[in-house]
Symmetry: none
Subunit: 146 residues, 4 copies
């Protein structure tokens, strides 16, 4: 599982990317494989729900074992299923990009997830990926087949 | 953050506009930047959920840092995302006009939000704006790009 | 049922009493007989849960048809019952003074309730009573037989 | 309100104290005045609920405007009230030391709170205080009059 030292590297690198790209104030949540928060950082000026959205993106990825980009088309084609998942997960099902799995480079085992919120979903995801790329882990943002 | 004295000015001016326009019984919630209710007033004859809708409109604006008019098109084009946000925020995500941010005229910092419910969304929003215009603060109702 | 004009008189008089007594920042909620919020005012410097506690005190009084002072001894002698009521009411069962029924002076019918939070329960209750006494209604704070 | 840069200083200093004292794996949550998480760090080996407890301690302090040490005696003498607050706050009412207010040294205004969980409450609180002392802010752990 992801360790605190690594989670801090991820959070810092994700926010560094947000500043390079001059994005909106960004929130980044790094979760371990249990869905427990290991590190979280919210930039100044973030709005009220950003913490919850960032965490929910990470939890969505862990919930179904795929990066949240893979959920976009599924949610579109099976809306009733996602309404059900949304209620079942008590809101922790956010089918937009920005929830990225952290995988072991050896056996692809899931060691955690990163959720990012603050700007457009594609930009949020780019920050999550930049965070994981600052470590030796692999990232899995999910593929949208639709 | 918005103060009680200012919040009462906003509520009174919003309801005055509702009477000038002869709208349905109106409820107005003035929230501070924490999402805490500072002042609330519900006109006689209001139906059972108006308090919750008025507060939820204000909370929606604070949650994402934009007036709720900006959420109309987003909700239309990304319904699954808004279903998710609705559950995540425990119902406090109402993507129709009537949730208006209160901003500082100096630096545009968010000092609170007004949520109004009772009539058509456009009329609700007009009352929220009239309330904020009775103070020295700026209003941000959100822009719908769709 | 209590009307907005009367609810504003109650809120104003309750906060006036808080200032006369130099109490902590006070929050006052005036509910109608349905449990809907008619007027709410929170003084500057109030902590994060005051809105919820003030409302919950008023709802507790309406829930059982007695001022919350009458709940103190009952909660002490039947704690398991109040744990159950607390869960059933989703937290809106606060068995300390400060939730006061508003009754018609003619037939004692319940027309609403006032909930106050911010200082010690006895002081909160005194503000609620002062609010109702500024109208022609009668107050019922509940009697603690224990 | 507390800023990210300051929140990271607090979290780092709190965990440094935990290592100096060789305490159990520790979790530290730094919240702003809105109750939003600004920074969070969980040491390796933490059990499943530590994130929630750390956050709930900080939220408890913000909810009532006092450090959680001030809640110990109150909860002992008024258990029914705290059962009610526990439900009302959806579990975010933890009346043991370890939730410490962050105050401005100028006017004592609340700018945030720190919640720490992992070891005995007195040790948790010592870490929270050590965190705040690494900044220019003042801490308010609450006083237990009982």
């Amino acid at each position: 599982m992801i360790k605190l030292k690594e989670a801090l590297v991820i959070a810092e690198a994700a926010l560094k990317m947000a500043r390079i790209r001059q994005l909106n104030p960004m929130s980044v949540a790094v979760l371990d494989a249990r869905g427990c928060l290991v590190a979280f950082q919210m930039e100044d000026g973030s709005s009220l729900l950003r913490e919850d959205i960032a965490k929910a993106k990470g939890l969505s990825a862990l919930a179904l074992g795929m990066g949240t980009r893979a959920l976009v088309g599924r949610a579109k084609h099976h809306p009733a299923f996602f309404v059900g998942l949304s209620a079942l997960s008590k809101g922790n099902m956010i089918p937009v990009p920005g929830g990225v799995l952290i995988r072991s480079p050896l056996d692809a085992a899931i060691v955690g997830a990163v959720g990012v919120s603050g700007d457009l979903p594609d930009h949020d995801e780019a920050c999550a990926i930049a965070g994981i790329e600052a470590t030796t882990y692999s990232w899995d943002a999910g593929a949208d087949p639709s």
